[in-house]
């Protein structure tokens, strides 16, 4: 078969929107560009480490300090073990989405495959953490507070558990892809002036909030899986 990596996506017969199919598009190459930008930025910041931080170091520190404070608040002093995953998620969401605002480039996060991959990694990782911490009794929280209510609670709990990765991926994908579509429509209507409004809204409000949400929800799910007291 040609292009076996798209076998499953093709079987779904999704509409021919650019965000839902990766045929003839350069998603992987744009992901490499984002990886290179993240790596080069972090290397520059570490090489020029100042005690009184200047411009770029300030920006990176605002991200890392935010994540560190929330990890320690939610999980406790051992929370920093999970810092690499959360900071990678946040930086990839932020820089991957800003890339699409540059003319001629598209965001890797504007493709359902990228966001689904991130959401599936987070989902499987926090399930793995819960199981490795409490064994198979980790799944007892699906049964609800009283054993008599288990047949009613189980379907609802399973649905809301699986709604987590779905909503995580579709939220990011639809925000970024919808933003790109609206920019395309506005550029079609008027080349100067009007698209600036949406570019401003996207870059100052939508993308930072989406980065915050993805990383904050990751931390909340990790903290929920690691909770050692039975509070449910």
């Amino acid at each position: 078969m040609e292009q076996p990596e798209f076998y499953i996506l093709d079987k779904l017969h999704l509409p021919p929107l650019p965000g839902l199919s990766a045929h003839n598009s350069l998603i992987v190459e744009y992901t490499w560009i984002v990886m290179a930008i993240i790596a080069i930025t972090i290397i520059i910041v570490i090489k020029n480490w100042k005690t009184v931080p200047g411009g770029l170091q300030n920006v990176i520190e605002s991200v890392t300090l935010f994540i560190e404070n929330y990890l320690i608040d939610m999980i406790g002093p051992k929370g920093l073990t999970y810092f690499p995953l959360v900071v990678t998620v946040m930086l990839f969401v932020l820089l991957g989405s800003y890339l699409g605002l540059i003319p001629g480039m598209m965001s890797p996060t504007g493709f359902i495959g990228t966001t689904a991959a991130m959401a599936i990694v987070v989902f499987l990782y926090y399930q793995y953490l819960g199981i490795s911490k409490r064994g198979l009794k980790y799944f007892k929280h699906f049964l609800g507070p009283i054993p008599a209510m288990a047949p009613f609670m189980l379907p609802m709990e399973l649905i809301s558990e699986f709604a987590r990765p779905i909503s995580l991926s579709v939220r990011l994908f639809a925000n970024i892809f919808g933003g790109e579509m609206i920019i395309k429509v506005l550029f079609g209507m008027s080349a100067i002036g009007l698209p600036v409004v949406w570019l401003f809204w996207d870059s100052v409000i939508t993308i930072p909030i989406q980065g915050l949400i993805f990383s904050l929800l990751t931390m909340v799910y990790l903290a929920g899986a690691l909770a050692s007291d039975e509070g449910h």
Partner: protein, 84 residues
């Protein structure tokens, strides 16, 4: 009877559906974000020092309300691909 051939019907219905999807979807997030914002502003007016900590959770509530409308917008885009 030329208007009822399947392709035209699907196009017309998709256009109508796309409009309804985003229109009805925007009602919910308008109400939800309005409620969250009003509580947030009230709590800042009462106790201005709590602004930093409360702001993060207000933005979480904003994004969670907005998600439902964004789902509706995605459906509208999927339907618009079938028009014409």
């Amino acid at each position: 009877m030329d208007m009822l051939d399947p392709k035209t019907l699907v196009s017309a219905a998709s256009a109508l559906g796309a409009g309804l999807a985003i229109g009805l979807g925007a009602i919910g997030s308008g109400i939800g974000i309005g409620v969250a914002a009003s509580k947030f502003i009230e709590s800042i007016a009462r106790q201005p020092e709590s602004e930093g900590k409360t702001r993060t959770w207000f933005l979480v509530a904003y994004a969670l309300c907005e998600t439902q409308t964004i789902f509706a917008m995605l459906i509208a885009f999927l339907l618009l691909a079938k028009v014409g």
